[in-house]
Symmetry: C2
Subunit: 514 residues, 2 copies
Amino acid sequence: MRRYNYEKQVEKWDVLEVTADGHSDKNPFVDYKIHGTFTGKHETVTVDGFYDGEGVYKVRFMPSFAESYTFEVTGSAVDGEVLTGEFQVTPAGEGNHGSIRVANTYHFAYEDGTPYYSIGTTCYVWELQSDELIAQTLETLKNSAFNKIRFCVFPKHYDYNLGEPRSYPYEGTPMDSSVLTKENFLEYTGKTEGNHWDFERFNPAHFQHIEKCILALRDLGIEADLIVMHPYDRWGFSQMTKEQDDLYWKYVIARFCAYRNIWWALANEYDLFPKKTVEDWERYAKIICEKDPYNHLRSIHNCIPFYDHSRPWITHCSIQRQDLYKSSEYVNEWRERYKKPIVLDEIAYEGNIQHGWGNISPQEMVRRFWEAVCRGAYPGHGETYMNENDILWWSHGGVLHGESHKRFAFLHKIMCETPGIGLCPYEKCGWDEVCGTPEESTQKQSPVKDYYLFYYSFMRPSFREYHFDDESKFQVNVIDTWNMTIEDRGVFSGKFKVELPGREYMAVQIKRMK
Amino acid sequence: MRRYNYEKQVEKWDVLEVTADGHSDKNPFVDYKIHGTFTGKHETVTVDGFYDGEGVYKVRFMPSFAESYTFEVTGSAVDGEVLTGEFQVTPAGEGNHGSIRVANTYHFAYEDGTPYYSIGTTCYVWELQSDELIAQTLETLKNSAFNKIRFCVFPKHYDYNLGEPRSYPYEGTPMDSSVLTKENFLEYTGKTEGNHWDFERFNPAHFQHIEKCILALRDLGIEADLIVMHPYDRWGFSQMTKEQDDLYWKYVIARFCAYRNIWWALANEYDLFPKKTVEDWERYAKIICEKDPYNHLRSIHNCIPFYDHSRPWITHCSIQRQDLYKSSEYVNEWRERYKKPIVLDEIAYEGNIQHGWGNISPQEMVRRFWEAVCRGAYPGHGETYMNENDILWWSHGGVLHGESHKRFAFLHKIMCETPGIGLCPYEKCGWDEVCGTPEESTQKQSPVKDYYLFYYSFMRPSFREYHFDDESKFQVNVIDTWNMTIEDRGVFSGKFKVELPGREYMAVQIKRMK
């Protein structure tokens, strides 16, 4: 029994990593195992470790309590020897609220109870770009309101995405990509010819790099909505065998699950995989549920048909809009159907590329955001502006060229003013308006709400009339969601009229005074 | 037998009116009848006449052939005496193309075969306003692209419509309207108290005035889409008995059916009538089919649920959009379902009033127009801008305050470039574009079309690629539907790329060269 001294303290919800030298003969990714058990006063957690190359094995743990812990790490990798040690967990530092949980059916909060109002974006393979571009993306994110980003473990092959990634997840060599053009790339999608990978030997450097990126996001307060599988593939990573898939899933979980800002997105556009079946997705889900002791959020994203979001392992609906014209407008229906948080991870992207999913205006993007929020859901952004270098935020990160993202901090501030956690469609909402009221008050069936957030979308009323009760007093703000202004209109009661400017994209925020 | 000499000639599709002095005792509207039979070489038409007050009866006829006619008019109104005469019908003059017919399942043409591309507007009671306002409306219409207008025979009681009409359809007196306010008017909707009407005695002056207005429209080349019944009523006109309704319908048909520009709109928002049933609407339809020998177009307009537009007497679907967000986008579905022309008589109005149906932007209105046209349907306009005098185009006419109407002449010019009659959704249209091809070529199942009109709606592609075949040559125009510019991009063949400005509301018109 080797004994480790972990003098360094670790923060609650941070990562404690135990490193062990072990076998490097045979295939350490397959032929040897390692796992650890971490014990404090309030929890005992057993997790798998993983081979990190160069004869080194690692076991990672995220403690949930500020107290003393001990651990035991063992496995065939260390010939059954038991490595033990102890360490101290300190209280969570500033900005560390733990992982995101479903708080009240439709909404999220951090582990410590702080509401989490998701403002997502998508940069599919930002972390597989050059160091310089990655640094630029992180700088952009730092100055943005985004608190969630979707990205992939595997490289991406698609329009505007024909280059090679900085590294590959497996040992081996890729097909010759010099034959690819914007015209012929689809012919290579889903092909495996010309690639030579050992799907039983991971490339630890690929994953180590992704971990650095996950940590960098964590330090910016951004959730890493990790797309573990996707179909935009010319390397064969989307067409591995069951055994190879399972090996991959276990490796990914063992490496990443101790990071508090991880969300598991099983797939992007699961329905576009040529060979995966529902049984496959359900098997991956089973592996996650079994191997991730922290219960990070789990979702699966569609292209056209939704996955059955009522499956119990799915924590929230990760939705791509199914209609060219309506997206966020369906939130009410989806909330009722699934009774889970609705995250609109793709409602088209602001931009000007040729594809209809990537050329909506910033106004329309911001409109879809407000429409979603006031219906009690969480919208996601993406940006696809043509440029000389084919660096599109949606895939590569870099800088933002658009206008919608500038309006999200303003929206997020308004979201944070919701009493309790999250908005819910107001049951007496008119047919020609959208209105959110606190989820809380609705769950209590309060006849008068403490808070109303009306949104008029593309409509341009010159005034609106309101009548909630005859007793309460309400403070009324008129919000221009595009120009980001808030006008305090004073206090009203009974039936009252609010003058509006007859412009698009106006909201009326009404707070009951106590 | 009295013999009349009709020295005046009448144009084909104009109105020949026979006037007869007759009984003015008892109730001439009910107790006496008159009818006429008009005979030329190619047709014999029998129609009812009507009592026009002051002891005068009239029988009206619209001849369809340029030839000699004779007539016989008789009935109890003239004690069975037979009035005969003859007249000469001359060829149709300039701008006189006859009545509108359904030409090829989904589209309209005038009787003489000229395609009719409807650009409608709605001014519900423009003709019941002051002489001055009526003159202003006609002047506005004259300078517009509108070639159809929807309006009511009965006065309208609704928000912004609380004033009295210039005349009433019946003898009697209305309720005291000085009690009405914007706040309480709904309490009086559908009430009959305080009104004293003799529903068996029409006020001929009311109808004579409407006829003048129908003729004025005709002279401007505008179809009169006459809403014969509507529920926005405080006078009781929407709640008459069956017998009174039938009397009204027969009177209206006898008076108006000889005007070539008449369309019968049985109702506006038939589903809002408190007491009418499907049996009632079907009975009215039967009366029209029986009494109107010219088969003017017949429709019935919904508020929420559609009437069953598959009923054989319905010549075209007069649709109010059922969804706040999508309107013209449903055209493909409706075309397939009903196999009749789709006329979108209400897709919300450009304006800034408080109601969601009356405050869309001009951009959105023009977008809905193009979206409808490129899907093979006919959109309608309306305007509801707040103003000091509460004169809103949608009800009162007057002048236009908006921006959308300025774009309709441009659109109409493009519509007129369609080979054959009307557009049809292109069967190979992409999911992120709208495209119309000639109805004709589709009915012939041509693999390559002579004409394509692509529309990109709110999307903003920087380019699009097209490939129809490898042989044909195509002339390509890039159209900015909002700024009304057309750029000739030259001739292309095979697979080709068209650069676009990355703005909203662009169209690409592609004409096969012969």
